[in-house]
């Protein structure tokens, strides 16, 4: 399991002075792009925001007093005095706009929305940016699996609709001297071996560092080049290129993995299984039309559900419209009159607020399938159970459902195996919301150990000693949420790329993999790749390096040999879970309607190890495979060599043996070649010790991992059936 590493560029923000001594993990590109997208009121401001912190990567730090430092980075001031004039002229903006982003100078122009109004708390993010516009999708439903696909489709549709609208607005507004800006590229290079006099002087810093920075338009790409002088580049992963695409187009998975970020990723501030919060540009650039957004989200959702073969309208009733009316809300996040602030933790609970309202409503009901409180004027038509459930239905606790079904859960009932003419002779059963299912979606959570965030380098121009000591804390702003998702999205994209190179994700705007029973084979192909979830993730954010644990929302359900699996309503038996990407993670895997296991790295490794050994046992006699038999024997305490011998005896076709051979001879040869392949060394004693280690490991496998056989079959059995009866 090879480790994963991200490098989106160096840090952009710290708090230093007084009792503050903190850093933020969002990289410089993320910081300036998010400022530009959310704070700019014009093309001029957008462009100015892009290079307002241009010289931060020089890492010139000065000490002001005992415990206070200044990060000298502003174009137009100090060592970078001449830069503003040059780049302002080149990018067609007024001089002063950039240099005043921290200070007010009456004679100079200033941004209309200031940085503190974008990130209202520079330390721990408690509130949404006070002057930023946010759109929120809320799905008032408990996170039950029965509604997971529909909820994910709605979320993906919502992000797409908003992204396309913002992209159109940006394309209209964003022009540099008449040319459109479609992409923004950040190049970070390190240089070393440059000596500086002590103390530094501004002209020297400009000559050796500052003048090597660049800002320019290259075609439709706005390019910024940064140079960081290091004392020694050995072992410091620094150089990187980061590109943002502002067109709203879907990026290829390769682009995503190679440090290109999409507009939808930049806009989505927060996402979980019930709510999405998207930041949108200021009203001068983008005007919010909630009614239109809702209508278009419904249309885009319907298209997705059609693609998944999910019925949305039956007998003249449009269940999607009903669901949106009852359980889905798209709104502009309001500024509360009293507090004038918008605490993030409160905003993300909007779906719960909606459900509380439904619970308290005199006409409120509780969904018997998902436990969701709801109000709805839709009275479901009486349905006979035989229409809804197949004869192999196993979830008897749900029989008798006739009413009190929330509109979103209706899709589950509507799409039963026999619904709408399915299941009759010549018509395949409907399985879009039954049977095998996989959902891997980015989650806005990340875990890390602050104590591990040590500076791996002291920048050459850190004359003040900002990074000389251990920092006390890492703080999280809204911009870190974007970073967290960015990592989760890339991990998911990488997984998808491993089985479907070149193909877009099934839910690309959400950054999610969603596979239904029809794609059971793809689920099976993905299962072995999930070992990537058990890997270390490192974030390089110069001058820091930190192990992080990005989060993914996971549902995995796969049928093994159960031919009637999709008729058994197994989606009712599991729930989505958020897991972190790390060696200690656990993945819930529902094998069929009876067995759910938690897969750990150890279980995965043991299964992989046994499977590797099984690969060298190819014999098969009728339906008995030598490898299967070998596995059963070793899990029943046979040693691996005796198991080869015995499994060979059971699977050798005696009619095909040479005349002068016997069953014992052939089986012995199998055992001997296994011994030679796995245990033979130069020393007989070492060979025996290697054998004993393997014997011990295999003999304790069943005790340690009772579900090992199921996992091996789930991961590697090509004959596993996922089709409907």
């Amino acid at each position: 399991m090879s480790p994963i590493a991200f490098n989106f560029g160096p840090i952009a923000r710290t708090a230093a002075g007084g009792r503050d001594d903190t850093i933020n993990l969002a990289s410089l590109p993320l910081h300036v792009l998010l400022n530009a997208l959310t704070a700019a009121t014009s093309a001029e401001e957008f462009i100015a925001w892009l290079w307002h912190d241009l010289y931060k990567p020089a890492f010139q730090w000065a000490k002001k007093n005992d415990n206070d430092f200044s990060w000298l980075h502003i174009p137009g001031i100090g060592a970078f005095q001449t830069a503003e004039k040059i780049f302002a002229a080149r990018t067609g903006i007024r001089e002063g706009l950039v240099s005043t982003h921290h200070f007010k100078i009456k004679s100079l122009p200033r941004f209309q929305v200031q940085e503190w109004q974008v990130m209202s708390d520079q330390g721990d993010q408690v509130n949404l940016g006070s002057k930023v516009n946010y759109l929120q999708l809320s799905i008032a439903a408990e996170p039950a699996l029965a509604t997971a696909l529909v909820r994910a489709a709605i979320a993906d549709a919502f992000i797409e609709v908003v992204t396309r609208k913002v992209a159109a607005a940006l394309q209209k507004a964003l022009r540099l001297k008449g040319f459109p800006i479609e992409r923004v590229r950040f190049e970070f290079k390190s240089v070393y071996g440059r000596s500086f006099s002590s103390p530094f002087n501004d002209s020297e810093i400009w000559d050796k560092v500052g003048k090597h920075f660049d800002v320019r338009l290259d075609g439709t790409t706005f390019v910024m080049e940064h140079v960081t002088p290091l004392s020694d580049t050995t072992g410091i992963p620094f150089d990187t290129v980061f590109t943002a695409d502002l067109t709203g187009k879907l990026l290829t998975l390769e682009e995503l993995i190679n440090n290109t970020i999409s507009l939808s990723e930049l806009l989505v501030l927060y996402q979980d299984s019930r709510t999405i919060i998207i930041a949108v540009p200021q009203s001068q650039i983008y005007t919010i039309d909630q009614v239109k957004l809702t209508q278009e989200t419904i249309a885009a959702t319907r298209k997705r559900l059609n693609d998944f073969d999910v019925l949305t309208a039956v007998k003249g009733v449009d269940y999607l419209q009903v669901a949106f009316k009852s359980q889905v809300e798209i709104r502009k996040v309001p500024v509360e009159e009293i507090e004038k602030k918008r605490p993030l933790e409160k905003i993300v609970l909007r779906p719960s607020e909606l459900m509380t309202e439904a619970r308290n409503d005199p006409s409120g009901q509780i969904c018997r399938l998902t436990g969701t409180p709801f109000t709805s004027s839709l009275i479901p038509s009486p349905t006979s159970l035989s229409d809804l459930f197949s004869s192999s239905f196993v979830d008897t606790e749900f029989t008798g459902l006739v009413g009190d079904i929330s509109p979103l859960a209706h899709f589950y009932l509507l799409n039963s195996p026999n619904s709408d003419g399915a299941g009759k002779t010549g018509v395949p059963k409907r399985a879009s919301l039954r049977g095998s299912f996989m959902l891997l979606a980015p989650a806005s959570h990340v875990a890390f150990d602050e104590g591990q965030a040590q500076a791996i380098d002291r920048p050459l121009l850190d004359q003040g000693g900002r990074f000389a000591n251990t920092l006390s804390r890492i703080t999280t702003t809204t911009q870190e949420f974007t970073l967290f998702q960015q990592m989760s999205r890339r991990i998911i994209a990488n997984l998808w790329q491993s089985i479907a190179p070149g193909e877009p994700l099934p839910l690309p705007y959400l950054g999610a993999i969603a596979l239904t029973h029809k794609q059971a084979q793809s689920i099976k192909l993905l299962l072995p790749k999930l070992k990537q979830v058990f890997t270390d993730v490192t974030l390089h954010v110069y001058p820091f390096e930190i192990t992080v644990r990005p989060a993914i929302e996971v549902v995995i359900e796969t049928a093994l040999t159960d031919q009637k699996h999709a008729g058994k309503h197994t989606l009712l038996k599991t729930t989505p879970r958020v897991v972190t990407v790390e060696p200690r993670s656990t993945l819930p895997l529902l094998i069929d309607d009876k067995v759910q296991i938690n897969v750990t790295a150890e279980l995965f490794e043991r299964a992989e190890m046994l499977y590797r050994l099984m690969l060298s046992l190819p014999r098969q006699k009728r339906k008995i495979r030598q490898s299967d038999l070998w596995l059963k024997l070793i899990l029943n305490s046979s040693d691996p060599i005796t198991a080869v011998f015995e499994s060979a005896q059971a699977t050798i076709d005696s009619k095909k043996l040479p005349k002068n051979s016997s069953m014992e001879h052939a089986a012995f040869r199998d055992a001997e070649s296994f011994w030679l392949q796995y245990f033979d060394t130069d020393s007989p004693a070492q060979s025996w010790d290697a054998y004993e280690r393997q014997r011990l490991e295999t003999s304790t496998t069943l005790e340690q991992f009772p579900a090992i056989m199921l996992l091996i079959r789930a991961l590697h059995d090509p004959d596993t059936k996922g089709s409907l009866p």
Binding site: I641, N660, A671, Y691
Partner: protein, 160 residues
């Protein structure tokens, strides 16, 4: 397990057995069952050493003693190492040979202590891997193996 390249015996059976038995005693094993493994391998060498060289002389149907060892050990109902060696050898090679070097190990396996029982259990449960280990020791000592199908050796009684 490397097969010897040289297809002629470099040393007499007597010396082969003595060296293989010594190598078995000297096995530097990390296993907690090391003593029992060494005793089990000595038992196997005793059986292997007692096999009549005439068994390997038939050109039309080459005899491979190792699968035969596995077969008869697994089939034996005996309860002690000595009885097992006797039972297996009589099944494979009723006209077994005697070598001076077989004396001490023969004495050692006629024991009824816990170690003997452990070695017996090992031999019954892990026959095949133990035969692999014994084969390796025997071949390294012999520099050649009559069981090799390409072998052209025709052992003489004088060697026995």
């Amino acid at each position: 397990m490397t097969q010897p390249q040289d297809k002629k015996p470099k040393k007499p059976l007597e010396q082969t057995l003595a060296e293989a038995l010594q190598a078995a005693k000297d096995l530097d094993l990390q296993s907690s069952r090391a003593d029992a493994v060494r005793l089990a391998v000595q038992t196997l060498l005793l059986i292997r050493g007692g096999m009549n060289p005439d068994l390997f002389a038939k050109q039309d149907r080459k005899f491979n003693p190792y699968p035969a060892l596995v077969k008869y050990i697994r089939a034996s109902n005996t309860e002690t190492l000595g009885a097992l060696a006797d039972d297996v050898l009589r099944n494979i090679s009723p006209e077994f040979i005697t070598l001076r070097s077989l004396g001490l190990p023969a004495e050692e396996i006629y024991r009824s202590d816990e170690l003997g029982q452990q070695a017996m259990t090992l031999l019954k449960e892990e026959t095949t891997p133990l035969v692999m280990l014994m084969k390796r020791l025997y071949q390294e000592a012999r520099g050649f193996d009559e069981a090799d199908s390409a072998s052209g050796e025709s052992p003489t009684p004088s060697e026995a």
